[in-house]
Symmetry: C2
């Protein structure tokens, strides 16, 4: 396996693009990443596209058609919310294998207002849960929060503080769908969605695209003085057990993936300078502090109370504003959180820059089940 | 890049399975491939699932749930008709890279009666062609045949002979959707679909699944005395040009892919013992004789006249009966034609066995655009 560098990285501001189709959005991101890499479309030897809702519509090839198709291999992948990060990983594998020197991953999605309430194909089969509302994403992540409250005495206020932090971070991120601070009382008084999460504790749906150009070490030298290296690329699924019939135990899934990632990267949680994790709901972020081993079991509530995960804190989490503010166009998300870390590691993150960041971790989970973790380093 | 062997290979008989869902079909194929490999589900380190119409429904994970999910990475891919072969290729890449020793590719599709008349997402954008009927698959492949007639004087009878041959081959293939001989006059007198193809010159839609277990050389030694090696795995797309606005020039696409495959495999067309090619329509097969360089430009008509591509002929093509008889459940097709070659190279193809086959080529093209070629050898 060869070392792989991220040389080009870009994303569009997430939001609503009713006047553009998803191919246009993805093409803009792809052009941005190629430009950022300083290479040409002709240098790109393989393309992996991640798009969930139009996964059967040859989005990857249509992007290449739009920006200058050269006849290279194009692969379309889908893995629920981990669609984009799975595309990144397949691009990484293509270069790490030695088969290609330059690969591009493009993640995109146009969701309108559908999606996170359970419109996806994978959730349809769980009909009982569907009828009860517990198989829908707000239910799943609400219940996971309730379980944490029961076990560790975590409070709704502590979960709400995640939303306060991420919305505060978003003010400095021009790529975020929303850039609005939400004081604690506003978060707590917002419309309840699924206890303990209120409206401001749930990520929005939206449209967006992100892209990355990956290169072998030798190739990267030709294009950049400032490569960001993929120290680990991990994808896991959940084992099926009678207690885990939906294969979506978000805690075990992330814990297993992080253990594997730290071991492969030779970088532990204590070595990380920043984390972009999958805060589809505020409850999820707090649980993942523990699942990613940023703190001990049951200590996540204290961690947010102490402000440790703010930019400037011990381990900044979701400096981008996270999914809660930045938005969550499914196929784009997993590439975008890698892009965010690349920008920080290069010192290009503007007002939200994590000073001196040399390592970062990007985490995504997808229903039904997929968890990706990428550890990046300078 | 490491050598990769196919150790397990199986497919279900293609056809109509109204009482089974696609996860059940794919799971049966996966279990069959694991059993054929002589390994256990616990030996499988990564799974790539190919399914087009349900590409966003986490089919790969649901198959693993059905057969004994162990928490391994699962990737879902889609690439039009080349969906299954793209899944195989990603599984090959995972092992060739050195990241994994055992990978499984599972291709599946449940089409009912939809599909080849242009119901897929990728074709929707070509609305003018859609209205004219020329952007639909029967139109595309009919026109390609007409062009060959114009350039080389090829006759409808020569195209029809492809259907005669493949339907004759299918009689010996218990896995084929149809196993019915069709004399030449029946083919010519069948209902016209898109000139020069009649009904018997078009592949049926259907349901099906196929799976393969791939291993590194070292691992393969533990499980088989009879490995089949992947000598080349190639995926290409079409360049966009003003004369090729749909990026679906089937001739260039296949010609480029075959040139790359022969070069990578160190095996030329003259070294092949058998070919399973993408005969979605009878016209396509004849064109691909030339595109795969089995004969010179304009010589395909003579090749079928001489019977060179029958089992027992100079280079047997579609000993399985091809898509015309075996059926074409999109996501399953690309794995199934590799499975067919593996069986022949092992000498396990029963009454349709290509005697002494040591090399074979599997070819698939997908609209919009993707072409895969796998060269296999003993």
């Amino acid at each position: 396996m060869r070392d792989v560098a991220v040389v080009g990285a870009t994303m569009l501001k997430f939001g609503r693009y009713p006047d553009k189709d998803v191919v246009t959005l993805a093409s803009e991101a792809a052009i941005g990443a190629i430009k950022d890499a300083g290479c040409s479309i002709k240098d790109v030897e393989i393309v992996v596209s991640g798009n969930l809702y139009q996964s059967n519509a040859m989005i990857g090839q249509r992007v290449m058609k739009e920006i200058g198709a050269t006849g290279v291999p194009v692969i379309n992948v889908a893995n629920a919310c981990a669609t984009g990060s799975t595309a990144f990983r397949e691009a990484w594998m293509a270069v790490a294998s030695g088969a290609y020197d330059v690969a591009m991953a493009v993640g995109s999605e146009q969701m309108g207002k559908m999606g996170l309430l359970g419109a996806d194909g994978a959730s349809r089969e769980y009909s009982t849960e569907g009828v009860m509302g517990t198989g829908l994403m707000p239910g799943v992540f609400g219940q996971a929060g309730v379980e944490h409250m029961r076990k560790y005495g975590t409070t709704q206020e502590q979960f709400a503080k995640v939303a306060v932090k991420n919305h505060k971070h978003s003010v400095n991120n021009p790529y975020a769908q929303y850039q609005i601070e939400t004081p604690l009382e506003d978060v707590l008084n917002a419309r309840p969605i699924a206890w303990p999460n209120t409206l401001y504790m749930c990520c929005p749906t939206g449209d967006g695209a992100a892209a990355a150009v990956l290169m072998s070490a030798e190739k990267a030298k030709q294009f950049t003085q400032n490569p960001v290296w993929v120290a680990a690329s991990v994808l896991t699924s959940d084992p099926y057990t009678p207690r885990n019939p939906t294969m979506f135990d978000i805690n075990t899934l992330t814990r297993n993936a992080s253990t594997e990632a730290y071991q492969k990267a030779g970088i532990g949680p204590e070595d990380l300078d920043m984390v972009e994790l999958h805060d589809c709901f505020a409850t999820a972020e707090l649980l993942h502090y523990e699942n990613l081993q940023l703190c001990g079991e049951g200590e996540a509530g204290r961690m947010i109370d102490e402000g440790a995960t703010y930019v400037g804190g011990k381990i900044p989490v979701n400096a981008s504003g996270g999914l809660l503010s930045k938005g969550h166009p499914l196929g784009a998300t997993g590439v975008a959180n890698i892009v965010e870390i690349v920008w920080h590691l290069r010192g290009e993150a503007g007002a939200r820059q994590v000073e001196g960041a040399k390592t970062g971790l990007a985490h995504v989970i997808g229903l039904g089940s997929a968890c990706t973790i990428h550890v990046l380093k300078k």
